[in-house]
């Protein structure tokens, strides 16, 4: 019954979305306030209906209702409750439902917080947002209905993929979707502004919080996924340049560019048409990502989607939205004339450089991801593009970005005196070079990654500190002024510091990871680099829905006891799949990462030990980037603007 209600609510939501797409758009064109006003209640009703539908599906998972096909193939009665809930989005149908839920959520939030928007713009934004909802609701209802019933319900389910039964992964998809779909809001604003034919500073200010929110969620989502891969996959990789990963990385890069260029629109009314184009493309890459994951085109063997019908449907959606938006863009781009004048050396130019590097880096990832497909289609060459390519082709852009960042963020708006802007950074640069040189001379091997990464990290971090110090001005009370800096300034500082720290972590893990593979006998000590390790025991035990093999390994260093590590491997009998749970001992300098392998024929167990340099820095850096975004999101000016707009409106009745 609840299931049927959920299905019905989804159908109703489709109807409401249709109304929300058409009526306010006509209202805005004709200037009919009543028609435009339909948008807000429609957006909220649409959200409530989809939420109800999603709730119904979650309920089916929680109660293990095996009359639903999705529940059967993705759940099991013995599974812990949290993974029953996360199983709701651990499959194609449910995750698409989460997708439209978030589209509707953003629409409802725009209706809720959009009080200060001009009526026509708000109506158009909500109508465009609804059109995205319509497309994906149709996709769900026509090709991937989560509510289809089994004719003969089985006794139990086939279990969720064991790899997904992990806290890191339970919350990875919702964050990622909030990010992907959050970019739909920037897209809706861009298309609405194109229809309106008006892009000004106010538009930049409105679109920025949405982009920022999407970017924060993407950062957290990608970070969670990466962290999960690191500890769960058993060899400590954190990034694979897989098409599916690139699919989330490309929108992240473009969203990063967009939230910088929107500042230029807001403060200086320049870069307008480029910002609009970025907003369209950023969501376009979200759609491409969805297409890559669901079509199975690039990834021939794939868990989600081997259904060409679905792929073609999404391709159609993508063609419609991108084609439509880009045509609109070419027609209207001329109307968006830049106003701000700035010189070659200025913050504006620096942000142009930022955008260039991020956008071209995204383009490189895009070409690398699509190349195997293109090469096969056009040149009849079946080839692979893997991590070695991306490492070489992508990294230079990040190096340039890191080099330019402290200089760019020290530049004032409009017209900078280059020498005066760079002057305070001179010692920072020298110290950073010295750090890089020191690392170069201390490391074994001749890899450049380590020294360059340390140099860039130190350079960015010191640049951040100097920038903050300068913002407090001169004279007494500088500390107090430091803490009173606007949220945006703190956001910038924290997010940039996060990037620098991430650079350090990534360079460290690439440059100085070492590993050791050996057969360990019980209670026979062995030496791995400068650690003394002893395999104490290996025991088997039963988890809720798996069988675990757990090893106990004592680690000491220089005679002093360091830690007892318990790497584990699990076997999930229902899904017939093994997983690894690495044991990790973390310090700021390195992670000691231990994995237990198979029992050997001649006795003993395979033990793999990795010493991963600076890995913790990656997670801290990613977290700081997200935190910086949050600081920036809570900047006063996004709220002050609300207040100043409302005052005159209140004044009207009094006259």
């Amino acid at each position: 019954m609840i299931t049927e209600l959920g299905h019905f609510a989804l159908l109703l939501a489709f109807g409401v979305a249709l109304v929300q797409m058409i009526v306010p758009m006509i209202g805005a064109a004709k200037g009919w306030p009543g028609w435009m006003a339909v948008a807000e209640p429609a957006a909220m009703v649409q959200f409530v209906l989809i939420a109800a539908s999603f709730g119904a599906l979650t309920w089916a998972f929680v109660t293990s209702d095996f009359s639903l096909a999705v529940v059967v193939s993705n759940s099991h009665s013995l599974k812990p409750l949290i993974y029953k809930i996360s199983g709701t989005w651990g499959n194609h149908e449910g995750s698409m439902l989460l997708w439209v839920l978030i589209v509707a959520l953003f629409g409802a939030m725009a209706a809720w917080f959009g009080g200060q928007l001009p009526a026509t713009l708000r109506a158009r934004v909500l109508a465009v947002q609804a059109s995205i909802g319509v497309a994906f609701l149709a996709f769900i209802l026509l090709t991937s209905n989560p509510f289809s019933r089994m004719e003969v319900p089985p006794f139990d389910g086939q279990d969720l993929n064991p790899l997904l039964q992990d806290p890191g992964l339970a919350f990875h998809p919702p964050f990622l979707y909030l990010g992907y779909v959050g970019l739909s809001m920037a897209f809706s604003f861009a298309v609405a502004a194109l229809i309106e034919g008006r892009v000004d500073a106010a538009w930049g200010r409105w679109v920025r919080p949405w982009t920022l929110a999407a970017w924060i969620f993407l950062t957290i989502g990608i970070g969670l996924g990466s962290w999960w891969a690191y500890y769960e996959l058993g060899w400590g990789g954190f990034w694979f340049w897989d098409p599916v990963e690139n699919a989330s990385f490309m929108p992240w890069l473009l969203a990063g560019a967009l939230l910088h260029s929107a500042i230029v629109v807001e403060k200086r009314e320049a870069l307008k048409s480029w910002t609009i184009l970025l907003a369209i493309l950023a969501f376009g890459f979200s759609l491409i990502g969805t297409f890559i994951v669901r079509s199975g085109l690039l990834t021939s063997v794939h868990a989600f989607a081997n259904d060409p019908e679905r792929g073609i449907f999404i391709l159609g959606i993508m063609a419609f939205f991108m084609g439509g938006a880009l045509v609109l863009f070419t027609i209207r781009a001329g109307a968006m004339e830049a106003k701000g004048v700035f010189s070659l050396a200025s913050r504006e130019s620096a942000l142009v450089v930022n955008n260039l590097l991020l956008a071209v880096a995204c383009f490189v990832v895009f070409v690398g991801t699509m190349w195997p497909l293109l090469a096969e289609l056009f040149f009849d060459r079946k080839l692979s593009v893997g991590p070695p390519f991306f490492d070489k082709a992508f990294t230079p852009f990040m190096v340039l970005l890191g080099l330019a960042l402290p200089i760019g963020s020290a530049m004032p708006w409009k017209r900078a005196n280059m020498r005066r802007a760079i002057y305070p950074l001179r010692y920072a640069f020298l110290v950073a070079v010295a750090i890089g040189g020191l690392v170069w001379s201390m490391q074994t091997g001749r890899s450049l990654i380590g020294p360059v990464g340390m140099f860039l990290g130190a350079w960015i971090l010191m640049g951040v500190v100097i920038d903050l110090a300068q913002r407090t001005g001169r004279g007494p009370n500088r500390l107090r002024r430091l803490f009173r800096l606007p949220g945006a300034d703190w956001g910038k500082a924290v997010a940039h510091a996060g990037l620098g720290i991430t650079f350090i972590g990534v360079a460290g893990i690439y440059a100085w990871t070492v590993d050791d593979i050996r057969v360990a006998q019980i209670n026979v000590p062995f030496e791995v680099f400068d650690y003394d390790m002893t395999l104490r025991s290996v025991t088997k035990s039963n988890g809720p829905n798996y069988v675990a093999t757990t090893a106990v390994i004592d680690v000491s260093q220089g005679g002093a006891f360091l830690a007892t590590l318990s790497p584990e491997k699990r076997f999930y009998p229902v899904a017939q799949m093994p997983t690894t749970e690495a044991a990790i001992h973390q310090t700021a300098k390195r992670d000691l990462y231990v994995v237990i392998g198979d029992e050997q024929e001649g006795g003993g167990w395979a033990v793999r030990t990795y010493i991963k340099a600076m890995t913790t820095w990656i997670w801290i850096g990613t977290g700081l980037m997200a935190l910086g975004g949050i600081f920036s999101l809570f900047d006063r000016r996004f709220r002050v603007a609300v207040g100043t707009r409302k005052t005159p409106v209140k004044g009207v009745p009094a006259e």
Partner: protein, 150 residues
Amino acid sequence: MKRLVLILMLLASPVTAVEPDEILSDPVLEQRARELSKGLRCLVCRNESIDESNASLAKDLRILLRERLVAGDSDAQAVDFIVARFGEYVLLNPRSGGMNWLLWGAGPLMLMLAGTTGAFYVRSRSRAKAPQDEELSADEAQKLRDILNN
């Protein structure tokens, strides 16, 4: 969701990749083998190198590669040997020959193109005249006077 999907395939069995019995006794050769295997694709896996994979085919390839190195092949000869048998698809690091120059050149070319466009834009901005602020309309001027006189 993106990543988990990849993982599903990545890991037919995630336990170990290189196994203890495969390791060569000569540490220099072993190091070369490890480096080379990071650039060779496990053909039955998804985007995974034979160094990381636990598939039996990856294991066979690792052993084959080590045999070639022990037999005295240079790095390039050993890789060529494998490419000759399994095709270009096995290389995770695509070669730059043929139309692949497009792949390798895409980034630098795009950077030059975008850089030129950006430079022209910035130059045009630095030469543009700031638009004159529009005059207030009579209505607006009246309002302003009212406010100022209050």
